[in-house]
């Protein structure tokens, strides 16, 4: 069958990729492939989903190693480089990578910031440059940056600078740490609430189910905007950035769990009627074992799929909250905060590169959606 689909395999020695594929195929055919293997197999056959997955890994990689990848620390600014447009990196064999320094001045008449490049001077760039100190993975002190200026006092603006002269690339990378984790943590909390409440609702049914469903309906019919505003504004004023961040996450997940609970309830209800669940019951398995061992595997991929779709919603919700001035605020850095800062005509007209955080949001949301869709399609290898 393998040969049939790929006649070339007969002629040339198989590449490792073909070998892997063939092995997967064999595993599938002889039935030793587990659910996760089957899901992976189906998932891999979906190009959009794979693209989303690669993109997502890349995005999270950049967020986790933001300190290392960012040329500068998020708080490092330079008065001389406010609104510095993205710099072009040059390369010659003798000098390697370099940029030209810029001299900025403000035209009093037009208020325009003029950046004059000095083509005679070269600021050498290098990989693994020494620069601002940071904590790798949050606890390892380090000062090596993936790419940066050889002289730690020089500045590099690959994506340009904001109005305070902070490097936008670094801001986006550091902002990703908050935005991306906020979504994950928020969804995780929603998920725990959703699994517990939705699971109870679906498995036991009856009056319990009715009450929980009414409560969920009730919560869902409270308009979200006032709820956001009320909860967000109720965050104690003394709280610092970390606490506020935590509180925002909580707010987002408190609003998100109802959806998750419904999904999980539905899945539990559905599998409750399956013959193999009855079989498990007759096999003497306990409620806990039935839910965890017999039911969960069948919808864990669906849960992951709906989680992956909930994360971008959380990220977008955070940007909206920031826009309303209720979410995180500068000096905290999140994509929402960065976007809030670029919410003005000056940026759109004269510093459009500051809209780049939107691109980060868009890419992330799309990546999550592709992954979620792919997972959903691949979720049930035995369905249909």
């Amino acid at each position: 069958m393998v040969d049939q689909m790929n006649p070339a395999a007969l002629e040339a020695p198989p590449t490792p990729r073909q070998m892997r594929k063939a092995r997967a195929q064999l595993k599938f055919l002889d039935g030793t492939a587990s659910q996760s293997q089957l899901i992976r197999r189906r998932y891999k056959s979906n190009p959009m989903a794979m693209f989303g997955l690669y993109l997502l890994c890349l995005i999270y990689f950049t967020a986790i190693f933001a300190g290392f990848l960012a040329p500068h620390s998020a708080s490092s600014t330079s008065a001389d480089h406010a609104y510095q447009p993205p710099q072009a990196v040059h390369f010659t064999l003798e000098d390697g990578f370099f940029i030209h320094p810029t001299e900025s001045s403000t035209d009093i008449e037009t208020l325009q910031r003029v950046f004059v490049e000095d083509p005679d001077v070269k600021i050498p760039l290098t990989f693994f440059a020494t620069g601002d100190e940071y904590q790798l993975l949050g606890f390892i002190p380090a000062d090596v940056h993936f790419f940066g200026t050889v002289d730690p006092d020089q500045r590099l603006y690959l994506l340009g600078a904001d109005r305070a002269g902070a490097d936008l690339l670094s801001l986006i990378l550091y902002g990703g740490q908050i935005s991306l984790s906020l979504g994950l943590i928020g969804v995780a909390v929603s998920l725990v609430l959703g699994i517990v409440i939705g699971g109870i609702s679906g498995y036991f049914g009856g009056l319990t189910d009715t009450i929980i469903q009414r409560v969920i309906e009730f919560i869902m019919s409270i308009p979200t905007l006032p709820l956001w505003l009320g909860l967000a504004a109720a965050i104690p004023p003394r709280w610092g950035i970390t606490e506020t961040y935590f509180a925002i996450t909580m707010i987002l997940s408190l609003l998100g769990w109802t959806g998750m609970a419904r999904v999980i309830r539905g899945r539990v209800l559905q599998s409750r009627g399956e013959d193999y669940i009855l079989a498990a019951k007759l096999d003497g398995a306990s409620h806990g074992r039935i839910i965890l061992r017999h039911m969960m595997p069948s919808f864990v991929s669906h849960i992951i799929a709906s989680m992956s779709l909930a994360v971008p919603a959380m990220i977008l919700a955070e940007t909206s909250l920031s826009f309303l001035g209720l979410g995180l605020r500068a000096p905290a850095i999140s994509w929402g905060v960065l976007l809030q800062d670029s919410q003005n005509l000056q940026v759109v007209a004269n510093a459009p590169w500051l809209l780049m955080p939107a691109l980060a949001v868009v890419l992330t949301v799309i990546a999550f959606n592709f992954v979620g869709d792919g997972l959903r399609d691949a979720a049930d290898p035995y369905g249909k």
Binding site: D80, S104, L111, V114, A351
Partner: protein, 655 residues
């Protein structure tokens, strides 16, 4: 990034759009719609007309008395900032908030007295004469004779009495009279009608600031209320039952709220006014657009006796900040200073030429970004520390203002301390220079000398109790002027260099006010107005619980010792000077007291100034004449755009 993309295309597209619009208009020819301005045929070279053609028409139709009968015997003559003008046209503006009455204050205020051209002293306006006795506790006001409300009813001393007795004196509406309406002992002034045009107003103590308060459009405007219209809503003139029933029928739960609603010239088109314009359609309507029309009985003329205003109509649209900026850049706003973001000036400038407007640079007031340590801090140790001039000075010296200036304003900003600027009557030589220079070494050694030598592992100095110098800076984040978070972030770094940790706490404006008025903050970040501080003294003198520097002391002062905390000796000295100022019996004594306050501020550095805007942008249609071009101050107490006496603005084309 200097050129705006798509410009070359624009003209082409605009042409296309214009053609479409043209077609639309043609096809609409038969329909009823308010033709856009420009169809009125009053143009030409009729600069000699004494009244607007739209009024002449009404006079001819018999709907309006002739001009002479509408003007007072001696009309007030408005200062002019330009030449001859044509009548007509609609002036378009925008604003952020439907409830904001800034337009009324700027364009349609009528008050007894108003600022002179130099904005230095009050000059009579509705009043023909405004005199005080020797100790400034009694004021005699002579109204112009023949003044009329916008509905043609005469404006007399009875209207003034109504305000003084039935409004200011009514405990329901005025449970506690604000200080600008009251004597030092908080009693409201007594008014006495001498004749139909002469009123005597007496305070229990000297009140030298009263004429100035009256000149402030937001205050002075409140003293002009039409008795003949409002009496129907006031229980002193109409049966209480009827008044209550009316209020209820209109959806109000008490008569005073209904009265306030009827009295609101910005939202109630029915209330007669004395100002240059009256509202036809309120801004809170669904269209989000307020229409204002000229008051045919307006009491001012230009030097040639031509009745003002020249512009027929105002149109004010409620817009979001971004939409407002876009409109300004598009030349859709004819004359606008308030609400424009400084940071968008570049965009205005880029689009000015092709969209037919220019950008003037006026002098900002109240744009000086500052830090105000809480002198009445709840924690005694911090209060002690903040009360030390050396400490405040060290804070100030630690800040590298030029770097902030360079970064945020391209070096154009003005670095100064918050004191009265040169030209203000309370300015004296040499003030405002203390601790202004960036000198981290001096700051460090000053802090060392204060005994703050111990440091924790993060390099933050420790107080005697062992607590670190870790303060929260509370402020409302805003980016339309100087981006506050950016500026303060740099301050954070500067202070870190001298061992002081500052944590930023940008807050919602309500939360910010709440925290401040409950004395629950370390350092307040605010912008401080500098001129005419006596009109809004709370920045410089803790006169109330809303003080930026010492709310607890302010509360004590406002409640006469009933609540709050007794001020420190320093602050008491400020308050004493303030008392001396507001009860001075002569201008000299008043100015002296004011200078003392400024000097004390300059010496003690209670507030730490950082940076002020170099200018505020004003967008002006190229066709609009008579806008003063001497970089006037855009200040709230001057009524903002009122500073250019907007009733004498005119369109060159007359439209």
């Amino acid at each position: 990034m200097t050129s705006t993309p798509g410009l070359s295309r624009r003209s082409f597209v605009q042409l296309g759009a214009g053609m479409i619009a043209g077609v639309a208009l043609v096809t609409l020819a038969g329909c009823t719609f308010d033709a856009p301005a420009g169809t009125a045929g009053a143009a030409g070279t009729k600069t000699s007309l004494k009244e607007a053609p739209m009024l002449t028409k009404l006079v001819k139709e018999g709907k309006l008395p002739e001009l002479a009968k509408r003007l007072p015997a001696k009309p007030a003559v408005a200062a002019s900032f330009g030449g001859t003008a044509l009548y007509g046209g609609t002036l378009k503006r925008g604003q952020l908030d439907a409830g904001d009455r800034g337009v009324m204050q700027a364009f349609a205020t009528a008050s007894f007295v108003e600022w002179d051209e130099d904005n230095r002293k009050p000059v009579p306006s509705l009043a023909e004469k405004f005199e005080s006795n020797d100790d400034m506790s009694e004021f005699t006001m002579t109204l112009r004779s023949g003044l009329k409300w916008s509905d043609g009813e005469p404006y007399t001393a009875d209207d003034v009495l109504f305000v003084m007795q039935n409004w200011l004196g009514n405990k329901t509406m005025m449970p506690s009279a604000p200080y600008w309406f009251s004597s030092a002992d908080k009693s409201v002034p007594q008014a006495e009608k001498v004749s139909d045009t002469v009123i005597k107003i007496s305070f229990t103590s000297p009140t030298p600031l009263w004429p100035k308060y009256l000149s402030n459009p937001s205050v002075g405007g409140q003293f002009v209320k039409p008795l003949h219209y409002l009496r129907q809503f006031h229980p002193d003139f109409t049966d209480q039952g009827t008044v209550d029933a009316q209020a209820k029928a209109a959806g109000f739960d008490s008569w005073d709220k209904y009265f306030a609603d009827r009295d609101n010239t910005w939202t109630n088109p029915d209330v007669p006014v004395m100002g240059a314009y009256r509202v036809i359609t309120s801004a809170s309507s669904a269209s989000g657009t307020a229409d204002l029309e000229r008051n045919p009985y307006y009491y001012k003329t230009d030097a040639d006796g031509r009745q003002l205003p020249f512009v027929d109509r105002l149109q004010v649209q409620i817009l979001a900040q971004e939409a407002l900026d876009l409109r300004a850049a598009n030349g859709d706003l004819d004359f606008q200073a308030q609400f424009l973001g400084y940071n968008t000036t570049q965009v205005y400038l880029q689009n000015a030429e092709k969209n037919g407007f220019h950008v003037d640079r006026w002098t900002p007031a109240g744009s000086l970004l500052s830090l105000c340590p809480n002198l009445s801090h709840k924690d005694p140790e911090i209060r002690e520390l903040f009360s030390k001039k050396e400490f405040r000075g060290a804070l100030s010296q630690a800040i590298n203002r030029e770097a902030i200036n360079k970064s945020l304003l391209g070096g154009l900003g003005v670095v100064m301390q918050p004191v009265a600027p040169k030209g203000d009557e309370y300015y004296s030589d040499g003030i405002g220079k203390n601790f202004l220079e960036f000198d981290a070494d001096a700051a460090n050694s000053a802090l060392d000398e204060l005994g703050l030598t111990e440091k924790d592992s993060n390099g933050v100095r420790l107080m005697n109790s062992g607590k670190p110098l870790d303060f929260v800076l509370l402020y409302v984040d805003a980016t339309t002027e100087i981006a506050r978070t950016d500026a303060y972030s740099m301050v954070v770094k500067d202070l870190a260099n001298v061992g002081i940790k500052l944590t930023l706490k940008p807050a919602d404006s309500t939360l910010y006010t709440q925290s401040r008025t409950t004395n629950d903050y370390d350092i307040d970040g605010t912008t401080v107005p500098q001129t005419k501080f006596d009109l809004e003294p709370v920045w410089y003198v803790p006169t109330g619980g809303n003080s930026h520097s010492a709310p607890a002391f302010g509360q004590w002062y406002a409640s006469a010792g009933e609540s709050g905390e007794q001020p420190s000796a320093d602050v008491q000295k400020l308050l004493d000077s303030w008392d001396a100022l507001r009860t001075a019996t002569s201008d000299d004594a008043r100015v002296k007291a004011g200078k003392a306050i400024m000097k004390q501020h300059s010496d003690e550095c209670y507030m730490i100034g950082i940076l002020a805007l170099p200018f505020v942008p004003v967008v002006i249609n190229n066709d609009l004449l008579n806008v003063r071009d001497d970089k006037p101050e855009l200040a709230f107490v001057l009524g903002r755009e009122r500073v250019t006496k907007p009733e004498q603005l005119a369109f060159a084309t007359g439209e």
